[in-house]
């Protein structure tokens, strides 16, 4: 295992770091152009790039170890990834009680279900070197779908407080009053995944297929397998978005069908924010 780790740290890494420096320099030019246009993302871009680089180096080291690890370790890693994904997604709901748990269960429902189905149908081999990379792709997409769905849903509710309360005042159930906004949030969260599916093979050839072809698999089978992965990503994202918006809807109203999720100005509105 140690030899494997040492093998992955050599001249290749040095070359890779130099290439990463060039990539960072190019990004810095773009950030400078943005700043010139008074779009200030300098700090966020610097932190994101630094984090991204460090995280990917660490992942590389972990994967080198994983190639010889047990399935249990792989499952633990996927669990930790799910927690990290929930923390990241829940940042879109600052100030909402229980946002972390809500995101966690949504991602577990989406990514967990799909990974389990893939393992059961043998479309995902129970080998750590396959389970972790494919699982992480599914979890990452579920996280993005969760974040996009809840952010859009909250924005829609806050923007349509008057319409929602008008519907409540006419005797509508809470679920009816926010149905159009829930639909638009789920649709918006799935759009990037649907576009990904549409452009598969036309605009981009995803990494899994490329890797399989390079390692000698039949290109046709590699293409079919890549489609399966993207389809499962879409399914996981859909389940995650549906669960996240349903959980959020239940938190948006009190038991007496009063809208709690409101524009954040209790001093003037006289009503608490959720």
């Amino acid at each position: 295992m140690l030899a494997e780790l040492q093998g992955s740290i050599g001249n290749d890494v040095l070359v890779g770091l130099m290439q990463a420096a060039a990539a960072i320099a190019l990004c810095a030019v773009v950030v400078a152009l943005c700043a010139w246009q008074t779009v200030h993302v300098e700090r966020e871009a610097a932190i994101s790039m630094l984090r991204g680089l460090v995280q990917m180096i660490l992942v590389g080291v972990v994967l080198a170890v994983l190639l010889h690890g047990s399935l249990l370790i792989g499952s633990v890693i996927l669990f930790m990834m799910t927690i990290a994904a929930a923390v990241t997604a829940s940042r879109r709901l600052k100030g909402m009680n229980g946002a972390l748990l809500m995101c966690f269960w949504s991602i577990v429902a989406g990514a967990g279900t799909i990974i389990a189905v893939m393992l059961a149908t043998r479309s995902l081999q129970p080998e750590i070197s396959i389970l972790v990379p494919v699982g992480s792709m599914i979890i990452a997409n579920a996280m993005n779908a969760c974040a996009q769905a809840i952010e859009r849903f909250r924005a829609e509710i806050v923007a349509h407080t008057g319409h929602i309360e008008a519907a409540l005042s006419l005797g509508a159930e809470p679920a009816v009053t926010v149905a159009p906004y829930l639909q638009s949030a789920v649709y918006a969260s799935l759009l990037p995944r649907l576009d990904m599916m549409k452009s598969l093979g036309l605009v981009w050839i995803p990494g899994v297929m490329a890797g399989m072809v390079v390692s000698g698999a039949s290109p046709v089978y590699a293409g079919i397998y890549q489609f399966i992965i993207v389809a499962m990503i879409l399914a996981a994202s859909g389940i995650t978005s549906l669960v996240a918006t349903a959980l959020m809807r239940s938190r948006a109203f009190s038991p007496a069908a009063q809208l709690l999720l409101r524009p954040a100005d209790p001093a003037t509105s006289g009503r608490p924010t959720a």
């Binding site: 008057g162 319409h163 309360e165 008008a166 519907a167 409540l168 005042s169 006419l170 005797g171 509508a172 159930e173 009816v176 009190s254 007496a256 069908a257 009063q258 809208l259 209790p266 001093a267 006289g270 009503r271 608490p272």
Partner: protein
Amino acid sequence: MLPRETPDRAAASIAGRATAALETRQLSRKSGDRILVHDVSVAVTAGEILAVVGPSGAGKSSFLRLLNRLDEPTSGTVLLKSTDYRSIAPQDLRRRVGMVMQTAYLFPGTVADNIAFGPRQRGEAPAPDRIAALLERVGLPGFSDRHVSNLSGGEAQRVALARTLANEPDALLLDEPTSALDEASVRGIEELILGIVGERRMTCVIVTHNRTQAMRLAGRTMVMEAGRLAAIGPTREVLHAG
């Protein structure tokens, strides 16, 4: 001497209103440390229009929102025909205590879709002639198939009123229903309110910042200040005293 009732006198007047259709008892609501409504007890009878006036931030709209339980009281309660409203399902309560807001907030679609919204929530589909009759009553004959995006402010507010009336409520809450309208539309809506409340013997509570509007519409007026009931009585006496 000002003809103002103290809260005690107001409470005493409640005792004399045995036929109250809508009654609040020590109704209060706080948000954090801020008092929005404090210890308000009033009773309104069927067919009566009660105006709620007061300066901005006095708690008028907060009070109104408590009456159909859009917000939850911190303490106290509301009785609807002597029944504590917490024992009524919120959806049923809001059908019985209809509310028209400052902005019409019409739903995308036609005028008929909007009128049918309330009845559809309880599985009823109002007949076209009933929708037509409601629109006729609010002065919008033939508007059924109009898209709501093609309505003026006054027309939209009339549709909002018809939409609420389609639920056949016992009480009608109006939150500054004419504040965004021109003078001609204001008078038209006022006549409509007076006519409908009289015909249906509905209980009506209207929040208004316009004291002359209160004079034109309401038999009684309550004045709110800092969330408290400052005065209540016949409109002319209360407003002339103020």
